[in-house]
């Protein structure tokens, strides 16, 4: 009996592992969002928006999926987000890899920021970015600060090594500037 339950437990654990893997690896291109939580409808987040419960399905679907996060990374470059946010390090726009979120750091808050735009320069992308792409970019932004699982976050780029890849991003805020190697930053005590 006890061995049976032990087996059941280990089977369940295995199942969870397998599910996590499938979720991480799925390539879903059609973007049929589960549950219509339009970012436009989200209440603007306050500082450090508390985790809503239960978390909306997008969070697991996008933040747990390596393909979505990497697509978000591609779009981040394609839509020239780096023009202001400089690969997350911050330039004209605020840095995205630190712990500070002016308008809330949950996936929905970031999506809302992209859709609505924010004062002092962040333009509104309402109607410019389809839903799936929006969630992808938001999930990628979250990965910059290691808010998504390490086995989901993107690795290094195939261009100049500005950052060592989101999966190797330090959790603590990096020092600004400098030409030192990406990994040397944030290697604090």
């Amino acid at each position: 009996m006890s061995s049976l339950s032990r087996n059941a437990v280990s089977l369940a654990l295995l199942g969870v592992l397998l599910l996590a893997a499938c979720e991480r690896e799925e390539r879903s291109y059609r973007g049929e969002p589960v549950g219509e939580v339009k970012p436009g409808a989200i209440v603007q987040g306050t500082l450090y928006a508390g985790a809503p419960s239960p978390p909306p399905p997008q969070r697991r679907e996008y933040e747990g999926n390596a393909y979505h996060v990497s697509e978000g990374k591609r779009l981040f470059e394609w839509f020239n987000c780096s023009g202001c946010h400089a690969h997350g390090g911050g330039d004209i726009g605020p840095p995205l890899m630190d712990e500070v979120w002016i308008y809330g750091g949950e996936l929905e808050n970031i999506a809302a920021t992209i859709v609505e735009g924010r004062p002092n320069g962040m333009p509104s992308f309402r109607n410019k970015i389809p839903d799936q792409q929006l969630w992808q970019i938001a999930a990628y932004v979250r990965s910059m600060q290691r808010e998504v699982r390490k086995d989901v976050a993107p690795g290094r780029d195939d261009h100049m090594a500005v950052t060592p890849g989101e999966q190797n991003q330090p959790v603590t805020p990096p020092k600004p500037g400098g030409v030192a190697s990406p990994s040397s930053e944030g290697r604090g005590p």
């Binding site: 390539r27 291109y29 059609r30 973007g31 591609r74 394609w78 839509f79 109607n127 410019k128 970015i129 389809p130 839903d131 799936q132 792409q133 195939d158």
Partner: protein, 342 residues
């Protein structure tokens, strides 16, 4: 000195075409339409003839060896090698090796000669084309010293007939390979490296090229059209491409343009002559003059264009054009506008 037109260029093709009539086509190395492909074709036939001969010899000898019933052996018995036969076989082996070496030598010589003749065709270009491979389409540029006379289009190469062309090859993301079998063999497009390919088309026609290096989800749908026309037609095409997109002629088209400019389209696509200037997706300035959409995935027509915009992920799953969700009412106007971009 110009390389004389290949003697096999026209007549030599007759026999192969008779044999493989079904194999000619817009994307076939058996139907060469360029100096390079013709020379490689000859190399192919030389190799094929030599190899067929060797194959026949091996098979005949094998057949003889199996059919020969010259020595009797009791069940479980062993046939000891006989000195005389072994000597003859050793001589045979020596002859065999010598024969192999001779044939291989001939192959290497022929290969070298053809390679040499290909280099003769290189570096005498009158037209330069830059092709950049991207996941999963091609940017095609005709650079000009005067930047305003440079042309950018997508998934379509136009070549003047009989004119040597240098194709500069670059990759934007992963490795691709440009293969237009009727004109030449393939050459890889590798990130961080510059490659090039020299083409000389012998006759007018429409050919098809395809990516030949596996490049991800939509490797299968990464083709391009190659249109070879007369020098005059080529120049006319170039002039037409230089013009910006025509302004919307009527209100319906104007609505279509407005839809384009206010929707997600402008995040990636550019149309010269309008505020849309993004360049991460194919330039649409003269979209309606092209033969196909989505890198050869569909022939160009309004119906296909509408279907493509409505759901690009059904036609080419995984490609970078998202499901935008244009309402049906808007779709017609949008397609009408795009179709006006001749």
């Amino acid at each position: 000195m110009r390389w004389p037109p290949a003697p096999w260029g026209r007549k030599g093709r007759v026999l192969p075409i008779l044999v493989l009539a079904a194999c000619s086509g817009p994307q076939s190395m058996l139907d060469p339409a360029g100096g390079q492909a013709a020379r490689i074709g000859v190399m192919g036939w030389i190799l094929l003839a030599g190899c067929a001969f060797v194959y026949a010899v091996v098979l005949l000898w094998l057949l003889w060896a199996l059919a020969r019933r010259h020595r009797w052996v009791e069940p479980g018995g062993v046939l000891p090698p006989q000195a005389g036969v072994e000597r003859r076989l050793t001589n045979g082996l020596v002859a065999w090796v010598v024969g192999t070496v001779l044939i291989l030598f001939a192959f290497v010589a022929a290969s070298y000669a053809v390679d040499k003749s290909l280099t003769h065709l290189a570096n005498r270009e009158e037209v330069v084309v830059e092709v950049e491979g991207k996941q999963w389409w091609w940017t095609v540029r005709y650079p000009d010293d005067d930047p305003s006379r440079s042309i950018t289009t997508a998934n379509e190469i136009h070549l003047p007939v009989g004119v040597p062309v240098r194709v500069k090859l670059k990759a934007a993301d992963v490795i691709h390979s440009l293969w237009i079998p009727n004109l030449h063999g393939k050459m890889d497009l590798i990130p961080g490296r510059d490659n090039e390919l020299f083409l000389t088309a012998d006759r007018e026609g429409i050919f098809r090229g395809q990516c030949a290096e596996f490049c991800g989800l939509q490797h299968a749908h990464m083709a391009l059209d190659v249109i070879v026309h007369s020098r005059a037609a080529f120049d006319a095409w170039k002039e037409a491409q230089l013009a910006p997109a025509p302004a919307p002629a009527d209100e319906a088209l104007a609505r279509g343009q407005a839809l384009f400019l206010t929707s997600a389209c402008t995040m990636c696509h550019g149309i010269r002559g309008t505020p849309a200037s993004a360049s991460v997706a194919p330039d649409l300035t003269h979209l309606a003059s092209r033969r196909s959409i989505a890198a050869g995935a569909l022939p160009y027509n309004r119906g296909n264009l509408a279907g493509w915009i409505a759901d690009p992920q059904r036609i080419k799953p995984g490609n970078h054009m998202p499901l935008v969700g244009v309402p049906p009412s808007d779709l017609q106007a949008l397609v009408a506008y795009l179709d006006s971009l001749k």
